[in-house]
Symmetry: C2
Subunit: 379 residues, 2 copies
């Protein structure tokens, strides 16, 4: 009974060459043309506006080595990850330079990370001496060097040391370990990504840069290089790019563009790319019990509602009424009601946790499936 | 680049014999003693209060063949599932009688279901002639019989035919197909599960039973047996059990008890079992940047927030402040602040979608891991 045998491998919802109408649902679709356009648009923007700044896209959005390779081919220098499992998947796929933009507090995870440092440049964040000790021990045991950024709280009030002095002190602690290389500062302002007005985002990033600059100055006074200043996301990168201080950008969501980010209002500088919705959740209408209501098989186990319900922009006559484990109930407000068996495309409110619910990205060109890309969703 | 190779198998977060402090996080813990007590408590309640009523627990809560076997050993006649993939996992594990308490609108899924009907009794719901046609064709092709329930809307306003007359008409349509066996009615009131007062739940189920009784009477007048009347969940089962009309109960969440169900207020009949929280999310404190705030590695990809944030009942000095993809921020309101590396146990707001995010259930007896049970989380 306590079998412990592994779950069977993930079933493929489609095969290349299939029509979208044949894909088993719920399934995540990636519009290849929109994906390519988004990747090209950010690369082009940065080339013209902030030449020299490095792009290290966040792979927590897609968890896809296939997409990471497309980003590197367009000029990205590597990727960010948020978990050790993501780092493992990216290094296994040949990505040569990976930042774990997060803290580790388990010896087992530090060992997993150190085991990868022979195959790629591995960078990791710290904000506490306990993490430094774990990383140093793991690097020493593995005979490798781990690169380290000190994370400083620049306004997000999540992780990160609380002062420039604390950042200097921790940087010096890192530098005491020959198995660790101090690279610079993680200065990411998560909250600012979703401030709705241009001015709020601009002011938040100006403040973030000021806090990080003070820390960098103190660290440099102590005789350490502080070559990397990294942060930014899809909501705020225009400001970090214009700061003349940040050296790397971590934008992730731009590849897919979720419904929530699309609600951010643009500023007077209208040169920002218009990223397209490249990710959608394909769902089948499984019930149409009355003319004013249909039910589809897109539920809480197939899409995350943390940033609100999915957008029905591709089905303007329908309105979202509710979602349970394996169902969404949609109201028919105008137009012809969908029929049982019809397929719909919902735009997820938040792409990142939605992707983590799926084993596969079903890539399509128009109505035809062109590839299946695995999602590195383990832990 | 368009490799299509499958993701690597799921990493095991622990091994039997390990202390909980060594489990890699975030990981879902199942307290074996609490689980066993919950299973026994419902069985005992039904034996004394509603002898003869059949229990068919909903496996969408746990997605675990191991737990399904424990439920059958305690008297359950089979399980409910919400997806074809769950049915496949349960039949593969030897569960002999499985109800897909949901509609199918894809020929590919009907074929998958029919392929299982040689190994188990398979029952499925319909509320539209299109589903009946798909199921009949798949059963004919596979040379099997599929059992069918007509779902009637008893107040949940999700799936289900809208009238007793429509239920009769669809039952007769099912009966026209020799590959399909009409078994009765699915009469589940999902919304009633979360009505907070005893009286609201009692009245909702009285209304549901009345609606289903009218449909059953019409169907029986037409010369069809209507032997199965199935519904109920953890929030309302005392009422269906007392109805003298329902023949089967579908309670699922009782095995784990999530924070949301625990908010339902009990009625005057205090013989209802007190189900214990058997599921918790083990998380590690990865950052403690200031005395009043810590950050742990339980994020949106490890627990569902659709029914509110997790309960911190096991850590009364802490309060939930926010959750992002791989973090939760907790405020230290009283007592000693946890330190980096400390482990916490959060009680998920909603167990079902939380379980679906994990590959393994880590079963424990006190502080020691006793088993790893796979989660059938594919599609």
């Amino acid at each position: 009974m306590q079998s412990g045998s592994p779950p069977t491998g993930p079933r493929r919802p489609a095969e290349p060459g299939m029509a979208l109408a044949e894909v088993q649902t719920p399934a995540l679709l990636v519009d290849r043309a929109a994906l390519d356009a988004n990747i090209a648009a950010l690369a082009s923007y940065l080339q013209s506006r902030a030449p020299g700044i490095r792009l290290r896209p966040h792979a927590k959005t897609h968890k896809s080595p296939d997409i990471a390779r497309l980003q590197l081919a367009a000029g990205a220098i590597g990727v960010c990850c948020q978990t050790v499992a993501e780092v493992e998947a990216m290094v296994a796929a040949g990505i040569p330079d990976v930042l774990l933009s997060n803290q580790i507090a388990e010896a087992s995870k530090a060992a997993r990370l150190a085991a990868l440092a022979g195959a790629a440049r591995i960078i990791v964040c710290v904000d506490d001496t306990a993490q430094v000790a774990l990383l140093a021990a793991a690097a020493r045991d593995a005979g490798v060097v781990l690169h380290v950024l000190v994370e400083i709280d620049v306004g997000g009030h999540r992780c990160g040391v609380a002062s420039a002095e604390a950042a200097r002190s921790l940087a010096l602690e890192v530098a005491r370990h020959k198995e660790l290389a101090f690279d610079g500062l993680q200065a990411y302002h998560g909250r600012a990504q979703h401030f709705r007005t241009y001015e709020e985002r601009r002011d938040a990033i100006a403040s973030a840069a000021s806090i990080a600059q003070q820390a960098a100055a103190l660290i440099r006074e102590s005789g350490l290089l502080c070559g990397t200043i990294t942060g930014a996301g899809t909501g705020s990168f225009e400001h970090e790019a214009a700061s003349h201080f940040y050296t790397e950008l971590q934008c992730g969501s731009y590849v897919f563009m979720d419904a929530d980010y699309a609600r951010n209002r643009r500023g007077p500088n209208n040169a920002l790319p218009e990223f397209a919705h490249a990710l959608s959740l394909l769902t089948t209408v499984i019930s149409a019990p009355v003319p004013e209501r249909v039910v589809c098989d897109a539920g809480l186990k197939a899409m995350s509602l943390d940033s609100g319900p999915p957008s029905l922009a591709r089905h303007p006559g329908l309105a979202h009424a509710g979602t349970s484990d394996e169902h969404s109930t949609l109201l028919v407000e105008s137009g012809a009601a969908p029929m049982v068996g019809d397929k719909l495309q919902l735009l997820p409110g938040h792409c990142d946790p939605t992707v983590a619910m799926h084993d596969w990205l079903v890539v399509h060109d128009g109505q035809i499936v062109t590839a299946l890309w695995p999602v590195a969703r383990g832990r």
